[in-house]
């Protein structure tokens, strides 16, 4: 790991500390750390302890994991399509998760338990990924894969709108859908984190494994093939990795915009275009940025600002600034 990667890695614990000391419960960092120490020593926790242990710590860790997943997925998509504008949403996986989550909310599955909507959304992500692979075909070109993903995303978005229109008189449903689509870590705790770890861990491992092939692809399809890269297999594995990362992240927290688009560009400013350094650095940047965004969202006492809104509010102007400064060619590295 080079200096930049070390710095990015060090930013994560700093962001975690800031997050642990922030929140409407008015519990400072020292008390939060003492609480975690007591809990790890096996002590029973009071109300303030429960706020730190059951609410702040797991949601901060989940924010980090989700941010890393989305950023790594963004780096994979931009590498696969060799397009700096590609974000994890272009494959339609997050839209599939969102559609199933909305249908689940419409049918009242959320009343079955905390697990219900994440499970339904994960099924949606898997279904979208399966549909994409079936529609594009194993030997499809990147352009066909990209267009199939865009079309799938548009279809899912249209069906979400149909659900909202059909149930427009159910204001509680509308509220749930709006909050879910805005993305949030509100109420996420240890179970959510434990559900996120296996798919995100597998997806991140796949992303790290595919770095060398993506570097070869950066030279062009013909060059990559001449270097022994099986392009069809690479496409399939990238889609599976993105599906795991984005599907799990979206299923558990809703739609968090711009993390997957902007974090790889921030990382690329330091690492350059090579995926060997880009993918881990993007994941670290995404993790610390998302933890910080969630801390900012929770610091506004009295109102609930969904982190997904903040990622868009910060990410979109930042991306425009980056685009103006470096140009599209510069973004591509």
């Amino acid at each position: 790991m080079n200096r930049t990667t070390w710095l990015a890695a060090a930013a994560i614990p700093l962001a975690l500390l800031l997050s642990l000391g922030t929140g409407p419960g008015e519990i400072g960092l020292a008390e939060a750390l003492a609480t975690i120490g007591r809990r790890l020593a096996g002590d029973e926790l009071d109300l303030r302890g429960a706020i730190v242990w059951d609410l702040r710590l797991p949601r901060a860790l989940l924010a980090g994991l989700v941010g890393a997943a989305l950023a790594a997925a963004g780096a994979l998509c931009q590498g696969l399509f060799r397009n700096p504008m590609a974000d994890p949403g272009v494959l339609g996986v997050s839209s599939g998760a969102a559609l199933f989550a909305v249908v689940g909310l419409l049918l009242g599955f959320d009343r079955a338990g905390l697990w219900a909507i994440p499970v339904v959304a994960a099924i949606g992500a898997a279904a979208a990924m399966g549909l994409l692979l079936a529609a594009a075909g194993r030997q499809a070109s990147l352009a066909v894969l990209l267009l199939a993903g865009v079309a799938l995303g548009a279809l899912c978005s249209a069906l979400i709108t149909v659900c909202q229109a059909l149930a427009s008189h159910q204001w509680d449903f509308g509220l749930k859908v709006i909050y879910w689509l805005m993305g949030s870590f509100e109420g996420r705790s240890w179970p959510h984190l434990s559900w996120a770890v296996p798919p995100c861990g597998l997806g991140l491992a796949l992303a790290l494994w595919l770095r060398r092939d993506l570097d070869a692809l950066h030279l062009g399809s013909d060059a990559a093939a001449s270097l022994g890269v099986d392009l069809a297999r690479l496409r399939l594995l990238v889609v599976v990795a993105v599906g795991l990362l984005v599907g799990a992240a979206t299923a558990l927290t809703g739609v968090l915009a711009f993390v997957g688009l902007v974090a790889p560009h921030v990382a690329r400013m330091s690492s350059g275009p090579g995926h060997r350094r880009l993918v881990p650095l993007a994941a670290l940047v995404g993790a610390s940025a998302t933890i910080l965004v969630d801390a900012v969202a929770r610091s506004a006492s009295g109102v609930v600002i969904p982190p997904g809104v903040i990622t868009s509010l910060v990410g979109a102007p930042f991306f425009l600034w980056l685009l103006r400064r470096r140009g599209l060619r510069g973004l591509a590295g």
Binding site: D46, D54, D172, S189, W190, S301, V304
Partner: protein, 325 residues
């Protein structure tokens, strides 16, 4: 409903014909695009449909064909009795939804259920439409332009507003005595609730989907009637406000009230709703969870702005009184 004649100006003999402008353009050797050539026709058509709006009636004038577009008016018009019911030509699309409505399945099937669409409402030829605050300005404009009087309920802050709404609707159906009977019934129930208030006044937070009901909400009156205090109001909040789970937990409420999608409080769906709140991170450490005081109230009572408010207060008081001393 009387048909509206097109305004004379659109058919006036002196009005320029659509072809005149086109001829001038052709004389200059240019052809207008089809869209532009069609504009005069579109203007003429819009003039035909855009009849001048007659001034809407005001006050509590009697109404003979009422279309109700709020659950509250669906409930009150039914409760006012057969004479009022006979004047209703349509009720809201939510009238039969047991999750929200206290008159689900009560209105005869022959009474149309109408969503807030202009054509659907106008087809009923109402002379009074009881509309909601979220009725679009386009629908309002269309209704008033066709002479339909609008009655809009905008304040739903508790029993005082309910009494006011009942009196307005009773006046509209020319049966104020029926309205006063409803109000007397409500006041009797509130008096019984007041007589049975628990000795210790606990603080309660009404919380669901990340929102709490604070000052100026119907829950504020419900809590007061049941013998509880509204914690969100005591924290200085107003209206239905987003309250983060961490903030709600940090208040350590002795009572948490939430809604459940069931018609009666003993329904298993209400127990499931209580368990769902108790399972949220951090909630198990609150006084409410430790004391077994997470109470689910049927949503149609808890979210009611009508008679259901008294029902919600009765349910809450029964739960409080059922506690072991």
């Amino acid at each position: 409903m009387p048909a509206h004649d097109p305004p004379p100006s659109s058919l006036a003999p002196g009005a320029p014909e659509p072809g005149e402008n086109g001829s001038k353009c052709r004389a200059r050797g240019r052809r207008l695009p089809a869209v532009l050539r069609g504009l005069p026709v579109l203007f003429a058509l819009s003039a035909c449909t855009g009849a001048p709006a007659p001034a809407p009636e005001t006050g509590d004038a009697p109404a003979h064909r009422i279309v109700s577009q709020t659950i509250l008016s669906d409930e009150v018009l039914w409760a006012l009795g057969p004479a009022a019911q006979a004047r209703v030509v349509g009720v809201s699309a939510l009238a039969d939804d047991p999750r929200y409505s206290g008159v689900a399945g009560v209105w005869p099937p022959a009474t149309p259920r109408r969503a807030l669409t202009s054509e659907g409402l106008l087809a009923l030829a109402p002379d009074l439409a009881v509309i909601a605050s979220f009725t679009s300005p386009e629908v309002r404009e269309l209704l008033t332009s066709h002479g339909v009087r609008l009655l809009e309920f905008t304040r739903f802050t508790g029993f005082a507003d309910y009494r006011s709404h009942v009196r307005q609707l009773a006046a509209a159906v020319e049966d104020p005595a029926a309205g006063e009977r409803l109000i007397a019934d409500l006041d009797g129930r509130l008096a019984r609730l007041a007589a049975r208030r628990p000795a210790i006044r606990l603080a309660a937070v009404s919380w669901g989907d990340g929102h709490a009901a604070a000052a100026g909400t119907s829950f504020d009156d419900v809590a007061e009637a049941a013998g509880l205090s509204n914690m969100a109001k005591e924290k200085g909040l107003e209206g239905h406000v987003p309250v983060a789970l961490e903030l709600m937990v940090s208040w350590d409420p002795p009572v948490i009230v939430t809604g459940c999608p069931a018609p009666e409080p003993d329904d298993p769906a209400c127990r499931a709703a209580e368990a769902a709140v108790a399972a949220l991170p951090g909630v198990r450490a609150t006084a409410a969870a430790r004391g077994g005081r997470i109470f689910a109230v049927p949503a149609r009572a808890l979210a009611s702005t009508g008679e259901g408010m008294a029902r919600a207060a009765e349910i809450l008081q029964d739960r409080l009184r059922a506690e072991p001393p």
